[in-house]
């Protein structure tokens, strides 16, 4: 898909200047990786568009020799996910490792002491979260082994909805795409030449067979992003966004998700006792010491 085709699906207020954003994000990645004395980035490649974009940006910023992709399928992952991830690896010419997480996931859930679940939906979710966190631990181990920073792959839409696994796929050292809505990720992906098969397939966390984000969320990202843009970027009220003609259930559902997922966007809250408490009155930039 061309950038124009992607843009044609999206209202102009969600259009971004891809040239400028590329420059900003590659600058960001270069500074933040090198600041801590490192050269490399580690990206978990799922075969989806978000991680593909992060890998493309990391490659532009750090050079292909400095990007390591980890492909971490589970036995129920869709085969096309691995194929698409490999396409990204080949196109970019970056290092990669394929690590099947099936043995460690199954070993855990085969334990007799793991609490069983009656509720099928909750069971799927628990298993999916476990997979996301397993992948996180591997990324961080490779981060230490190869002296590289874990590059984030969560976009603004899912971060705002809380549609991600805390300490799982939401974990990273630096995230270049967390201020881009899904529809904007698509523009950047088309602009940078992410493989067509990735641009065309429906977004999925691929945590169980047949899962798609939009079926699970109940709305398309195009709809969600338009509502988020007005609620978050423009700071319009729920009533004002409804008055624009967006369906009330959509607007209210998005607003409720925004509010109730705030905990996922924070470090754990520390009870204040002393005169100077971390994250309250002990205030430094993260880059303070580097």
């Amino acid at each position: 898909m061309t950038l124009e085709e992607v843009r044609a699906e999206i209202p102009p207020f969600l259009h971004i200047n891809c040239e400028v954003v590329e420059k900003m994000l590659t600058t960001f990645l270069r500074y933040e990786v090198r600041r801590v004395g490192l050269q490399r980035g580690i990206v978990g490649l799922s075969g989806g568009i978000d991680s593909a974009l992060s890998a493309f940006l990391a490659t532009k910023a750090l050079g292909p020799e400095n990007v390591i992709a980890l492909l971490m399928p589970y036995r129920t992952s869709h085969p096309s996910s691995l194929e698409d991830a490999k396409r990204v690896v080949e196109q970019l010419g970056i290092h990669h490792f394929v690590i099947d997480i099936t043995p460690q996931i199954d070993a855990y859930f085969d334990n007799p002491w793991v609490p069983r679940e009656e509720d099928e939906e909750k069971w799927k979710l628990r298993r999916g979260n476990k997979m996301a966190r397993e992948r996180m631990t591997i990324l961080y181990d490779f981060s230490a082994a190869f002296n590289g920073l874990v590059i984030g792959t969560s976009n603004k839409s899912e971060l705002l909805l809380g549609y991600g696994t805390l300490y799982g796929d939401m974990a990273s050292a630096i995230n270049p795409i967390g201020d881009l809505y899904k529809t904007q990720v698509r523009q950047m992906a088309a602009y940078l030449g992410v493989p067509d098969s990735i641009l065309r397939k429906p977004p999925t966390a691929d945590l169980w067979v047949g899962q798609t984000d939009e079926a699970q969320l109940g709305y398309t990202y195009n709809e969600i992003d338009q509502v988020l843009y007005h609620l978050v970027d423009q700071r319009w009220s729920v009533e004002e966004v409804e008055a624009l003609g967006y369906p009330s259930p959509l607007v209210r559902d998005v607003w409720r998700r925004l509010q109730t997922s705030q905990f996922k966007r924070h470090l754990p809250v520390i009870a204040k006792i002393s005169a100077r408490t971390i994250d309250r009155d002990f205030r430094y930039a993260r880059d303070w010491g580097y």
Binding site: F13, H15, I16, N17, E19, V20, V21, K23, M24, T27, F28, Y31, E32, R35, D179, F282, R283, Y284, A285, R286, D287, W288, G289, Y290
Partner: protein, 303 residues
């Protein structure tokens, strides 16, 4: 033709809180500039310390007099005078902290004169900014006489987003003939990459407009020095430039990259030409402005 002033805008990426490193960088840049015969080097806001200091402010604060002392050894090595604008954290005698800018003049005799210090007046505390938590606000806008340039005004970032700051500086002089050179230094985090037409960000676009408007309306030469680099999630914009009273630019630095913008500026000629065409500020009625401001102020307080 008037004597040109050779100016260098140093669009650098200071290291956050790495005070010695930044100071060393300043000295290197000054030495190289002096070798090329530059008269004035302008560094961006908080060039000695970086921007996102937060609780680190007291650790990097210095008394203003110290700057001259530091520069003295270098002055002695110079072949001709050199002026410099530095952004620093000022510690007052009462140990209060200001986001400040100093204009210093180095003489080959080895003396350094602190020509002027401006303390940032408008401290943005909204959206992504939190400055009033860490700084005290300056209380003055004063023009000053600078070697070669003549009457100058020095402003820091948000100061320039208030019409009245450059306005006051442009009037602050004998016979209401104030600053003819406006030096603006800033740390502007890039935001708003939505426009499809221009290779720029929303904030960079506004800076360009402001620089042109001040140059045109006040008939002054605008020296605008931005920083680049990244601190946490701030990606600083760059795009430093020099704009003359016709609204033309004498050079513009790229966005997001370190750059050194050097230009020979015939300040006197540009100011004269502006006055001979559509003379800016010549009709300005300061008595009327004052009367109306007093009335507005009075009525606001009565309300």
């Amino acid at each position: 033709m008037s004597m040109p002033v050779k100016v260098l805008l140093a669009q650098i990426a200071p290291r956050l809180g790495r005070w010695e490193e930044n100071w060393e960088r300043h000295r290197e840049i000054l030495r190289e500039a002096a070798e090329r015969g530059v008269d004035l080097v302008i560094f961006p806001e908080l060039s000695l310390t970086g921007y996102m200091l937060k609780d680190f402010v007291p650790e990097v604060a210095v008394h203003r007099e110290v700057l001259a002392t530091w520069l003295e050894p270098m002055a002695g090595e110079l072949e001709k005078p050199l002026s410099v604008v530095i952004g620093f954290v000022e510690r007052s005698t009462a140990h209060r902290y200001y986001n400040a800018a100093a204009f210093l003049h180095l003489s080959p005799s080895g003396t350094v004169r602190l020509v002027h210090v401006h303390r940032k007046v408008y401290l943005p505390t909204y959206g992504m900014f939190d400055e009033m938590r860490y700084w005290r606000a300056g209380r003055e806008f004063r023009a000053f006489e600078a070697p070669l340039l003549g009457r100058c005004g020095l402003l820091i970032c948000e100061d320039l987003w208030h019409l009245t700051s450059p306005y006051l500086l442009s009037l602050d002089g004998p016979g209401l003939e104030g600053a003819r050179c406006l030096i603006g230094i800033a740390n502007s985090p890039a935001r708003g990459a939505t426009d499809l037409q221009r290779f720029t960000t929303a904030n960079a676009e506004i800076w360009r407009m402001l620089n042109r408007i001040y140059a045109l309306l006040l008939g002054c030469v605008v020296f605008h020095c931005q920083r680049v680099g990244v601190e946490d999630n701030f990606i600083f914009t760059g795009g430093s430039e020099i704009v003359v009273p016709t609204g033309e630019t004498l050079g513009q630095a790229p966005l997001f990259e370190e750059a050194f913008l050097e230009a020979e500026v015939h300040v006197e000629d540009w100011v004269r030409r502006a006055q001979n065409q559509t003379p800016p500020m010549v009709l300005e009625n300061v008595d009327l402005v004052l009367r109306e401001l007093e009335r507005i102020h009075r009525e606001a307080n009565e309300g």
